[in-house]
Amino acid sequence: MKLPRLAWRQLRRDLASGDIRILIAALTLAVVAVTAIGFVTDRAERALAIEANRLLGGDAVLRGDQPISGALREAAMAPGLAHTETVEFQSMIRVGEGADANLRLGDLRALGEGFPLRGRFVVDDARGEHDAGGIPAPGTLWMSRAGADQLGARPGDAVSIGQSRLTLAALVVQEPDAAMDYFNVAPRVFLNLADLPATGLVQEGSRIRYRLVVAGDAAAVERFTGVAKASLGRGQRLETIADARPEIRSALDRAGRFLGLAALVSVVLAAVAVAMAARRHGERHLSGAAVMRCLGASQRTLVGIHVGEMALLGLFASALGVAIAFALQWAVGAWLAQALGLSIPPAGWLPALQGLAVGMVVLLAFAAPPVLALRRVSALRVLRRDLDRAEPAAWAVLLSGFAGLAALVWWKAGSATLGGAMLLGIGATLGALALLAWAMIALVRRMRARLRGALRYGLANVSRRAGSSIAQVTALGLGLMALLLLTFVRTDLLDRWQLSLAQDAPNRFIINVQSDQVQPVRDFIAAQGLAAPTLVPMVRARLLERNGTPARGESVAERVEAEGGDARQAQRRAEREFNLSFADALRDDNKVVAGKFWGTTRPARPELSVEEKFAASLGWKLGDRITFDIAGQRFTGRITSLRSIDWESFRPNFFVLASPGALDGYPASYITAVSVPVSKPRFTAGLVQRFPNLSVIDIDVVLKQVRSIGDQVSTVVQVVFWFAFAAGVLVLLAAVGASQDERLQEGGVMRVLGASRGQLRLAQASEFAAIGLLAGLVAAIAASVLSGVVAREVFDLPWQPNWAMAAAGGALGMAAALAAGLFATRRVVDAPPSVTLREIDG
């Protein structure tokens, strides 16, 4: 008979046995964990690639603070390219007339014909929500829905901008290039570029951003970017899909990597279950293999049958895992689309192939040694059962398992260093948990003397099979620990952190207060019964020079990169607008860490105090002379101190502070933060009503949004950790399976000695309850220690034991171990004792 057919026949026979079912379940679980995460990450990356186009509104965008003309504009007119432009700036927006008018500072975007070249506007008007299919008609404008809510505007209303009055035609539901901008609170207004000149808002000195957008076939776009890069002028920047939203791209990359590695925890635990089940499978086939040897089967035939069986099983389990993962990611994909506000393209097939590969690697590394050892079985075993157990060599098992694991971790981590650290981390965590488990099992051994009968027998089993018990407690404990830690950080620590923020921590930032409004605003706030706030001046500036040499974004980036810093961040910071402030004394949330703060004495020459990390990111040092451009005038100051800032104070803080008097005469606006109690819901409306030019940022809303994003992310992580927990349960099942013969025999003896079914069940229950309780305790202890570290290092909170968490861990561990253990040992109670004893006694 052909080998494949023999292998297939053996697999079909074996499917009825517990060890093969556990093997399949463990393998399937490992593949589901890795593949589901792979699918979801893949889809998110695809969504981002599409989003990147949408975010730009085209394939490449040239930004500048002056109208884009000359060679660059000509390059955009090349064949194969479409182009358009937009003009953006801030302006007051007025809805209504006279005393009833609502005024807010808003972001204005004048759109050229054809915009967006990629992506679309979705608007809401009399027709309902629909694709806008273009830009606002001349004489009309669109407004962001949130902005219209703030201003109380409805379609058909007249909206004044500068000297123009335009009709609000529709509300914007989705903007092509504003996705994921959680913190944008100002109303956004869109008008036709043709209407811009009439507003009279584009004047000399206005802060205006010009964008030239191009799209076309890849070669034409590449030619355009080549020309553009070569002829970029001062204040001009080129963006392509590749560098759009680098922070989201790298966040997604990191999230994908983290989830992939977290999924590997499930794979490691599942691998332990695979190894246990494969060992039992090998043992069960010893006699059969010996008989086949007697009947003349060669080693090759034996290996062929068993390896063939394993390969079939691996393919089946991996394919099942991929199918389950595929179903799961549909659900997750729908949720992700809603959470991110994106449409998400379907996943590619690469994760499925990777999942299959993971399944086969785990099987090969962890199941091969005991199966291959079968070939060494002696035919003599037919006569003498105690002869030649055909155990795989310990080093082969370890080496094979380690190699398989290392390969997977290295692949997921993407680098040998991170992979090594991850392996060490997993090893150390498992080692620490195992040590804890060992200590607790030793305690159980002492405790059992106080118990009687079935209970004592149950607990005695925990300490007798100490190795197996340690494996079960560790595996279950690891999954539980991850779940507990996540829950603890997500709820308890975040709650405590929020409580720890001063009760009167400011929750409204008020910006854009003009010099002549400082006192009236202060009076208004005081009249509301709130503490009179400090209004801090703020001067907008652009970086010009450092120590007399021009500090352009690229040159700063190059220098910072040469010094080993983050070039991209340095370039962004150097190019964007700086907010300077001045102060004669430092608040208690600022601390000088280097140099000397000017204090109350007014220095003769302007001095600067810079936040230490910000200075480091730009390569600034004490003593450096920094020159800024403030509304066309040069301002130079020397860095005389570096500060650290406690950002959790939630008060306005500045990276760069100037000495008092240094910024006198430069145009400044003021900013402040106040703590508004929930009992004053009308505060913001009243303030804006009185001072229409002010913008108010509601920190409560922002925190709520941050928290909701955090919740969404941790839900995904939680799913991954539930996989790990399930893998822990499979380890328990595999361990029980491995001791099934002993359990049947001992159950039979207990029955002969007069134990009732109830007493047998009690013995089993006490054993698994102990295993589960220990796993829960181990998990709670480990999670408490880790969350203590997180509390101290991340949230700056003292460690606080969480008994509820420990109890929840214990209860969950016990419930899972009891359910799984009693299920796995049901045969021990159900098997007639006479049959059991006859089988065993021969």
């Binding site: 027998y457 003896v749 002969v752 000695l753 079914r757 007639p832 006479s834 004893l837």
Partner: protein, 233 residues
């Protein structure tokens, strides 16, 4: 009638087996393991059941212990029919009245010698298990090995622990299945001496399944099984 024996005769019936049969279904038809077995054993008597492999000895022992249910007939222990009881009821009867000694000792490996002997008392619900267990282990000469686990004891010692476990509950019936089958001749003889001595002292009814004619001869009666039938008593 056997179960109506007068106490005055000092031969109260401990075990009564009547018309006992055991058949198991096989794909090829029904296999008869035991057929029409009947005998009575008086209290305190010792009976050997002998027969070749496959003659049905172990099945008969299982039925007498209530580990299995007969296809026909009845087993009465101290006059009470076993078949009227469910599994847990039969377990209770075993806990109260039956001791068991196996060929391969069947000590629970996770428990010490002392705990193994205490177990049947605890399962029965006795308040004090440790005292009697210690005393019985001392009787079999293992007072110094109470805290040893089975794997730390020799075969002979393990079977002595098993004897202690069987006698500690003061059973009215002791069932022994090839008790020396796994021991060398010398150790086996020592164990048998101990078994008979303890049996004598406790006045227990002993049923011993064995291949060993020499051992069977030490019992007051020998029942012979062949092909599932009783061929000589």
């Amino acid at each position: 009638m056997p179960d109506a024996a007068s106490p005055a005769t000092q031969s109260r019936t401990a075990l009564d087996v009547a018309n006992l049969g055991k058949r198991v279904p096989l794909p090829s038809g029904e296999l008869t393991i035991l057929e029409d077995i009947g005998f009575s054993i008086a209290s305190g008597d010792s009976v050997a059941i002998v027969g070749a492999s496959g003659s049905g000895k172990s099945t008969l022992l299982s039925l007498m212990a209530g580990l299995d249910v007969p296809s026909s007939g009845e087993v009465r222990l101290d006059g009470a029919p076993m078949s009227a009881l469910d599994e847990d009821g039969r377990a209770k009867v075993r806990a109260d009245k039956v001791g068991f000694v196996f060929q391969s000792f069947q000590l629970l490996p996770s428990l010490t010698a002392l705990e193994n002997v205490m177990l049947p008392l605890e399962l029965r619900g006795d308040a004090d298990a440790e005292g009697p267990a210690r005393a019985t282990l001392a009787k079999v000469g293992l007072a110094e090995r109470l805290a040893h686990y089975p794997r730390q004891l020799s075969g002979g010692e393990q079977q002595r622990v098993a004897l202690a476990r069987a006698f500690v509950t003061g059973p009215s019936l002791l069932l022994a299945d090839e008790p020396t089958g796994n021991l060398d001749t010398h150790t086996g003889e020592a164990v048998i001496e101990l078994l008979f001595a303890m049996n004598m002292e406790a006045g227990t009814t002993l049923v011993l399944v064995t291949h060993d004619e020499h051992l069977a001869a030490r019992c007051s009666r020998v029942l012979r099984l062949d092909g599932g039938r009783l061929v000589g008593a």
